[in-house]
C-alpha cells in the first residue's frame, strides 16, 4: 500500500477556491499531484450526482471546495452544498463507502496556503484509507465475485 497513489477529484468554485488554487500555484506552494481540479462556477453546482459519478468511475476521494459561508458569489450556492454533503455522506455509508472519501471545505481566493494544506491533508487521509472499492474494473470484479 506504500506506493498507492490516489486519484482525487477536487471541484473548485470559480470565484474563491479556484482562485485560491491559482494563488497556491503562483506562490509556488506545493500540493499533491493526486489532485485533479475541476472548475465549476459554484460549489452549489456540484450535485451529489457529480460526486457519485466521480466515485463510480474510480476516484478514491472527492473534495468540494467553495467560498466561505456568507461569501458566495451567488449569495447562497454554498449553503445548498453545506446542506447536501451531510445527507450524501449518510447515504454513502449505507452503500458501504467510507464517508471520509468525500470532504467539503471552504477556501477563499486569498487562501492559497489553506488550499495547499487542505489538499495535502485530504490526500494523506485517502492514502490512509487505501484504494476505493469502486471504479469500472473493481465494480465488475465485485459483481463477478458475487455472481
Amino acid at each position: 500500500m506504500d506506493n498507492f497513489e490516489p486519484k482525487i477529484v477536487a471541484f473548485c468554485c470559480n470565484w474563491c477556491s479556484y482562485a485560491g488554487a491559482d494563488l497556491a500555484g503562483t506562490s509556488r506552494m506545493q500540493y499533491p499531484s493526486a489532485i485533479r481540479i475541476i472548475r465549476v462556477m459554484c460549489s452549489g453546482r456540484v450535485s451529489p450526482f457529480l460526486v457519485l459519478k466521480a466515485l463510480s468511475v474510480g476516484a478514491d476521494g472527492v473534495l468540494i471546495l467553495g467560498c466561505h459561508p456568507g461569501d458566495c458569489h451567488y449569495i447562497e450556492g454554498n449553503y445548498k452544498t453545506l446542506r447536501r454533503i451531510p445527507l450524501l455522506k449518510k447515504m454513502l455509508k449505507q452503500f458501504g463507502i467510507e464517508e471520509e472519501r468525500v470532504r467539503l471545505e471552504w477556501v477563499s481566493a486569498s487562501e492559497g496556503a489553506k488550499f495547499a494544506e487542505v489538499t495535502s491533508n485530504f490526500t494523506q487521509a485517502i492514502k490512509n484509507l487505501g484504494p476505493s472499492s469502486l471504479g469500472p474494473s473493481k465494480q465488475n470484479s465485485q459483481e463477478a465475485r458475487h455472481g
Binding site: 446542506r83 451531510p86 465485485q142 458475487h146
Partner: protein, 319 residues
C-alpha cells in the same frame, strides 16, 4: 393485416405488472383484435420449449416485466430477445430494478440468511440453503442459480422501449400498446409515458416556497389536503420523478415514492432527489442540518427505492 404476435413474461417481480396489463379494461378487446398472445406464463399454458422452437424474430413484441435475479430470468430474457422484434421493459422492475433491486444493499449470502434462517416463521435447524444441483434417488435435480446482484433488463439484453411504473398506470400501458398496434412507435430507447416532466407538473396541490425545518414520515402527521406535501415535510418524490401517472398518490394524501423513474434526460434518480431535497433544508447551521437529516432514517433505501440496480453505484459494497 396479419395479427401481431405478443409475448408477456415475468422475471423477478411481484405479479403486479401482469395484473396491470389487464387493468386496461375493455381495451383488452381491441388488443385481442389486433394481436395474438403467444407466450404468457401467468395466463396461458405455454412451455419454455415452445418458445425455443419459434423462429428468431417471430414474436412482434415482448412485454417483459421483472428484474434479472436468477439464471432462469437471464436465460429467458436472452431467449425472448432473440425471438422478439421489439423488447419492451414493462414496469419498474424491468426498467430500473425496483423493489427486488433493493437486495443490492446486501449479497446473496445475507439474503439467504434472512430468508432461510432469520425470519420468525422459518424453522430450519439444519440451515439448509437452496443448492443449484442436488442428487436424489431418481437422479440429479437442478434449480436456477440465485445471483448476488439484481440487474435491470437493459443491463442484460438490448431493450427497445421502457414503460415506467410500479405498476404502470392503465393509460401508460395503453399508450405503449396503442403505439404498437397502430405501428406508430417512438424512437428506440424512449421511456413511454404521457409526460417527460416531473410529477409536480400534474399535481394540483398548491406550491409555495419550499423550506423545511423537520421531515416527517407519513404516519406522523395528517397532511393538509391542499398544500404541497413536500412543503409539509413529507418526503414526496414528485420533484424528481417522471409524470404521466396523473399524480395519483399525492392526490390521495400520500407522498410520491418515485415509481415512474427519473424525468427525461436524468441519470440516477436518487442522487437528484437527494440534491433537491437537501437543498431546501431551512438552516445554515451545520449542527441543525445534521439534526434535520436525522429525520430521514434510511436515505439510500428512500432515494433508490425503485432504481438501485439502474443507479451509478448499482449496489452496496459488502466488506
Amino acid at each position: 393485416m396479419a395479427k401481431l404476435k405478443i409475448a408477456l413474461y415475468w422475471a423477478a417481480s411481484c405479479g403486479g405488472c401482469d395484473i396491470a396489463t389487464l387493468a386496461i379494461g375493455e381495451k383488452i378487446l381491441k388488443l385481442a383484435e389486433a394481436a395474438d398472445i403467444v407466450f404468457w406464463p401467468v395466463g396461458i399454458d405455454f412451455k419454455y420449449a415452445d418458445v425455443e422452437k419459434m423462429p428468431d424474430k417471430s414474436i412482434d413484441a415482448c412485454l417483459f416485466n421483472g428484474a434479472i435475479r436468477t439464471s432462469e430470468n437471464e436465460h429467458i430474457a436472452k431467449l425472448l430477445r432473440a425471438k422478439s422484434k421489439i423488447m419492451i421493459a414493462y414496469g419498474s422492475c424491468a426498467y430500473e430494478g425496483c423493489i427486488p433491486g433493493l437486495s443490492n444493499f446486501y449479497n446473496r449470502q445475507m439474503t439467504f440468511e434472512c430468508v432461510y434462517i432469520e425470519t420468525p416463521s422459518t424453522d430450519n435447524p439444519e440451515k439448509i440453503f437452496p443448492q443449484t444441483k442436488v442428487k436424489v434417488p431418481e437422479g440429479e435435480l437442478e434449480i436456477p442459480e440465485f445471483y448476488d446482484t439484481v440487474k435491470t433488463l437493459a443491463q442484460t439484453v438490448d431493450v427497445d422501449y421502457f414503460v415506467p411504473g410500479c405498476p404502470p398506470e392503465e393509460k401508460t400501458t395503453w399508450l405503449a400498446l396503442e403505439a404498437l398496434i397502430e405501428g406508430k412507435l417512438p424512437p428506440k430507447g424512449t421511456v413511454i409515458s404521457h409526460s417527460i416532466k416531473a410529477v409536480c407538473d400534474e399535481c394540483p396541490r398548491k406550491k409555495e416556497e419550499k423550506r423545511i425545518k423537520k421531515f416527517y414520515r407519513p404516519y406522523e402527521i395528517i397532511p393538509d389536503p391542499e398544500k404541497c406535501l413536500l412543503e409539509q415535510g413529507l418526503l414526496c418524490y414528485g420533484i424528481a420523478t417522471r409524470g404521466g401517472c396523473g399524480a395519483l398518490c399525492p392526490q390521495a394524501n400520500m407522498p410520491c415514492t418515485g415509481c415512474y423513474g427519473p424525468v427525461e434526460g436524468v441519470v440516477d434518480q436518487g442522487a437528484h432527489f437527494l440534491s433537491a431535497l437537501s437543498s431546501i433544508i431551512d438552516s445554515n447551521d451545520p449542527e441543525e442540518i445534521q439534526r434535520i437529516i436525522e429525520d430521514i432514517p434510511d436515505p439510500a433505501g428512500t432515494f433508490y427505492r425503485y432504481s438501485l440496480p439502474d443507479s451509478l453505484l448499482r449496489r452496496a459494497r459488502i466488506k
